[in-house]
Subunit: 418 residues, 2 copies
Amino acid sequence: MIDHDQLIESLGQSGRAAARQLAHSTAEQRNGGLIAAAELIGQRQSELLSANQADLASADARGLAPAMVDRLRLDPDRLDAIADGLTSIAQLPDPIDRVLADWTQPNGLQIQRIAVPIGVIGVIYESRPNVTIDAAALCVKSGNAVILRGGSEAVNSNRALHEALSDGLEQAGLSAEAAQFVPTQDRDAVGALLRAHQSLDLVVPRGGKGLVKRVQDEARVPVLAHLDGNNHLYIDASADPEMAKNIVINAKMRRPGICGALETLLIDQAWSDNAPKLLTDLIESGCELRGDESICAMDSAINAAQPDDWDTEYLAPTLSIRLVEDSDDALDHIQRHGSGHTDGIIAEDTDAAQYFLARLDSAIAVHNASTQFADGGEFGFGAEIGIATGRLHARGPVGLEQLTTFQYRVMGSGQTRP
Amino acid sequence: MIDHDQLIESLGQSGRAAARQLAHSTAEQRNGGLIAAAELIGQRQSELLSANQADLASADARGLAPAMVDRLRLDPDRLDAIADGLTSIAQLPDPIDRVLADWTQPNGLQIQRIAVPIGVIGVIYESRPNVTIDAAALCVKSGNAVILRGGSEAVNSNRALHEALSDGLEQAGLSAEAAQFVPTQDRDAVGALLRAHQSLDLVVPRGGKGLVKRVQDEARVPVLAHLDGNNHLYIDASADPEMAKNIVINAKMRRPGICGALETLLIDQAWSDNAPKLLTDLIESGCELRGDESICAMDSAINAAQPDDWDTEYLAPTLSIRLVEDSDDALDHIQRHGSGHTDGIIAEDTDAAQYFLARLDSAIAVHNASTQFADGGEFGFGAEIGIATGRLHARGPVGLEQLTTFQYRVMGSGQTRP
């Protein structure tokens, strides 16, 4: 029987040693490792596809749902996309050794705050094999060692992809242990990873709500994640009806299944004359509406919202809608039901917008734009490992810069403290 | 019997409501509350001193050690210092609503990262009653609600000081619950506080190693703290002997009991000709030395270091000393024995210094200056709530800025995501 705590501790120690080497590698070396891995993925296409075939065959045998099987599947196009992702990450600016602050004290001490890697990061993910490469590449680019724990349904694909990555890193003169793969599929290994606060500095879960909840509940290691994206838009009295329609339909319907999708719409009663037209447009766009009493009275096609609708992240073309008295009423609603992910206001009145944004307790507060912009790429971060709704270290999109921490460097000329 | 989890949850809810109000109070209001509290401390001197007398009497009855009794004692001068501390914190720049970043995406979306309060902060501390005011003032100034849990030996003093603070906040139109005091001395309340990750956003322990260790071991709430300050200085081959002497004696002997004090000195063998003179100077300054074999051979007054000396934070005029082969050997030693607090190098050779600083995995890396500069005041932060050695959110001195987090504000003109 494997002692999982011991296993994770030993991976953590190798990871720590690799992290020290990575932290002092050059950006060229780290980028070179990622590009070498991209080339290996191209060269090993047939091996990678046959590893994936093994996963697909056992998914078939276990009767996995078609949507799960689709997530699992690799094909030449998807492999190309994975390799391209590596190349684009390699081309992003180097996030470490940035001077974040630099000042001189009256006694002549120069103090700098310098971006440095966090250390050893655990990534726990589910069926999509591309996460093996995407998440690991972001960690390595930012000078962190990564310990990967993928879903058992993709184990062969993940292992083969991981091998390509660590071989690429080795070709660039980096330690293969900069990216390690947990060598057992036992679920207890996840528990051990979450407990290992001596060995790991951070855990990032990538997957469904069940996974994120388990990680948040059990982890003794700090976690960057979001559980829900129960996002709200409030239509202020001053909102332009055409803009409101475009934003709301985009925020809900563009891709209803992403974490930045709109889930509840709050309409100011002073705007209610414009509401019936918007409701019709939403219904015509294919959205199912669930309203409070006032909203239901506007259109017979609208179902009555149940109490738990206000707390539901549908991730589907369904929207709950409430008429609110004013912006404070809207803020109260969001405070009670929101998940701190992305919320916003549609308003022509800039003062009303500023008042609202400043009182939102959300990682991302939006004015006159779609909530679906809640994405590292859309923020200009190049790539993201996820979105965080915690309050410390990073909130919102977690990109390369958010995978760094800092060190103070104090440079003197012999100063002693009086 | 009290349900402590329920008690803390209820304090957390009041704290959350107060935090929302605080976050949108003006800096003038928050500063006004702190100044009003400072005035109340002046006006209530006799009540505060008699509350303190009650604590001193029971300390006497329980036979508390004289050093503990001294920490507990308030007198008019100490009360004045506490009030002055409040006034200086009120005068520091406002840490919230700062624009930390501001950029515009090609689609015209303007994105700002704005400093906002963290939320509800628990402060767990031991005998010094001044922490009640110092810690709470930093939290309130930065827009956070605070829940205070002081040591039972100072309960009367703490309660009276807390009352002055919350009365001052009320006078400025703020919620008295911006600063709450845990109303029971039961140790289980600390456990409940540490578990309350739904109610609290952060815990800061202020006290001895026993307290910090309990907090780090038990907390489900994020913690900013340091357990040890096992700090090192490495004397490089290029070090100036006079500068080395001044820095080492200051780093060890100025105040041996603070967390930034030097605990182990590593001397490059290429500098060993200068070592005997330094050792003599150290001994003459009143320092007990514990050396490895080569160091012991230099002076018969030096005791042999035992293996656990290298891991010991003496907090006393005692110093362990080792001769190292080179800077990599010194870095290896620090990596094995250091606590990630403050470590440094003394060197005239700037390249050697840069090499060393960049490889130190410490919150604060120092070149040619005393480790005793590891302090928020010396960094220019005005005040600090402590020093953190964790890797996320804040490292090094935790001042007002480190008690904030941020929110992204995305401002558009109707943008939808393609």
